[in-house]
Symmetry: C2
Subunit: 196 residues, 2 copies
Amino acid sequence: MITEVKTFPVAVSARHIHVSEEDLQALFGPDATLTWDFALSQPGQFAAKERVSIVGPKGVIHNVRVLGPVRAATQVEVSRTDAVKLGVSAPLRQSGDIENSASINIMVADKEVTIQQGVIIAQAHIHMTPADALALNVENNEWVAVEVESERPVTFRGVVVRVSEDFSLEMHIDTDEANAGFIEQQAQGKIIKSWT
Amino acid sequence: MITEVKTFPVAVSARHIHVSEEDLQALFGPDATLTWDFALSQPGQFAAKERVSIVGPKGVIHNVRVLGPVRAATQVEVSRTDAVKLGVSAPLRQSGDIENSASINIMVADKEVTIQQGVIIAQAHIHMTPADALALNVENNEWVAVEVESERPVTFRGVVVRVSEDFSLEMHIDTDEANAGFIEQQAQGKIIKSWT
């Protein structure tokens, strides 16, 4: 039986970093705060004007955007393509699950911080409210497959559902997933719960 | 009804270039020939030792491998990620179908060739013999969906079947598709002919 349900927006997350208060001060100076640039789709989240460079054993990526607000622990989200370029073994993880994830150096001008863990490849996920979950017939932490239509259509079969009153309905994928599926901003996804 | 069939190897094609005799001479000198490095999976095809740089309006990629033998027309196969970096609008095409595809400059040391067309993103495809096609229950030029298992499983829904006695059974995807699906060499694919 195939269960097809209503569609939702698919957003492409470029590489970015969430910083702890301690690392924010170390990189941008004492009493530094993040500078609001623009709001992100999830309530309260924003893109900051601050940028950092991330330096791995094999390569460096400049101009990585910091997202706010500040978090309890610094977390760097990269694509597999980025991880190969940097030379780091970033595991596939849900945001916040950084135990034993990859290490990296973070630099801003002459300041540098080394994080022992925190570099991950973000698991594709769908943010939604409890009402959305009811309408979509899914539960928090459920794994679903999502189809996206395009000139090069793919189905992502390992997508996790994340339900909270604080969320806004939107799927997040990384740039590798977007480029594989020729997915541009404004794309819509559709949950395929089962195809057997 | 779902029809599942036997699996086949999935190979990841990094960016590469096929050169015409004329462009080979222009880039590597009169009477230049391609230097065999190692055999590729498809009979008669080989990786040459020659490398070129490809230069687009927004960026350059060095060390792009030339594949042999020489072809009637020069063709550059890149990923969407590469195309963005280079600043070229490379269309999704089957190999050989380069009419009105993207232009680029190709450089080797102080020599340069500009191709007016030839830059494409290769459509994912499965090479197979007529006997394979019979066993897999598909036909030449048929479009199929292919599942690949991994830690980040995806289904590629726009894959074309290419049948010839000269082929060896193997699916070819590009690096964006591989990175999206965490697909390493030695991965196996499975055709899903229909899920409705």
